[in-house]
């Protein structure tokens, strides 16, 4: 059984090392829809994949959060990217693999992955 002793050891190790994540105006927000529609279409692995990747790559300027239903249930799982000073980009029908592509191309390299956006294929 995993015990609380291990947690105490981590706490000792972390002491003084934890810097508060900056939640300033330069932060890019990545939002995943986690209402019934999102969850039923597979939003949970999309959310955890994005969040894990942001942590392992140490992308401190990106915060991954969850939101409710934005009314486009048929396009879930939906990931919205909000970069300061730029238009919001809405990615639809996401999977963990597609989400990682968005992370690499858009969030790290700044290139919108237009084949997955809601504007592509004449959807809107």
């Amino acid at each position: 059984m995993k015990t609380l002793e291990e947690l105490k050891a981590i706490r000792e190790k972390m002491q003084g090392q934890v810097g508060l994540r900056s939640e300033d105006a330069n932060q890019t927000r990545v939002v995943v829809g986690m209402a019934t529609c999102g969850i039923a279409s597979g939003a949970r692995p999309v959310l955890t994949t994005l969040s894990d990747a942001v942590q392992t790559k140490n992308l401190t300027n990106i915060s991954v959060t969850q939101t409710g239903c934005i009314g486009l249930c048929q396009y879930e799982p939906i990931v919205e990217v909000m970069e300061p000073g730029k238009d919001k980009v809405t990615y639809i029908k996401m999977t963990p693999e597609k989400a990682l592509e968005v992370l690499e191309q858009h969030l790290i390299r700044g290139q919108i992955v237009s084949k997955y956006t809601i504007n592509s294929e004449g959807r809107i």
């Binding site: 609380l4 190790k13 949970r44």
Partner: protein, 185 residues
């Protein structure tokens, strides 16, 4: 429909979060002798009026304005009832809400429990200001995760930093494996 029960738990717990709960208790209890799987989600949030409570099992009722259907509770209810099980929801305005679903464990229509570790881990690490009390039982073996205990040890170290997030995931996975003792539900 959801593909696994752990997704229903995640979905119903999102209602507790929207209802501004500060403590959410999630219980999964499996009794192989009684051939029963019980899932309970209990919160101390805003609760619902009698009127709302009557409508909550109706798939065409929701408090959202972005769509006109609300399938979270109906999905969970039908998942339980299709196994010959029981579904119950109680609420007290100002005190909180409890949702209980009992499944017939061996029924062919019972969905797999699925990845409870991911559900509980997601809830804890994305809602760091809410406390969770999670208990998982199979017959006479069980384990409990109480974020209030974690908080006492961690002080101001948040749950969502990589080291702690990983610990929480391992804690859930390893303890559930041990309680399951080689069985899958």
């Amino acid at each position: 429909m959801m593909t696994e029960l752990s997704l229903n738990v995640l979905d119903v717990a999102q209602n507790s979060i929207r209802a501004k709960s500060s403590l959410i208790q999630i219980t999964v209890s499996i009794n192989t002798m009684q051939d029963q799987l019980l899932i309970e989600i209990l919160d101390n949030g805003l609760g619902m009026s009698k009127e709302q409570l009557k409508k909550v099992e109706d798939p065409f009722f929701t408090t959202r304005t972005t769509r006109s259907v609300g399938l979270g509770i109906p999905f969970f209810k039908y998942a339980a009832q299709s196994t010959g099980g029981v579904f119950r929801i109680d609420s007290d305005p100002g005190k909180g809400t409890s949702v209980t679903a009992i499944f017939s464990l061996s029924h062919i229509d019972r969905m797999p429990l699925g990845d409870m570790t991911s559900t509980v881990h997601t809830l804890i690490t994305f809602n760091t200001d809410i406390d969770f009390l999670y208990s998982y039982t199979v017959d006479n073996k069980s384990f409990i995760l109480d974020t209030r205990e974690f908080r006492k040890i961690l002080g101001d170290v948040p749950f969502n930093i990589p080291e702690i997030s990983e610990y929480i995931k391992d804690f859930l996975r390893e303890n559930q494996d041990e309680v399951n003792n080689g069985r899958f539900f």
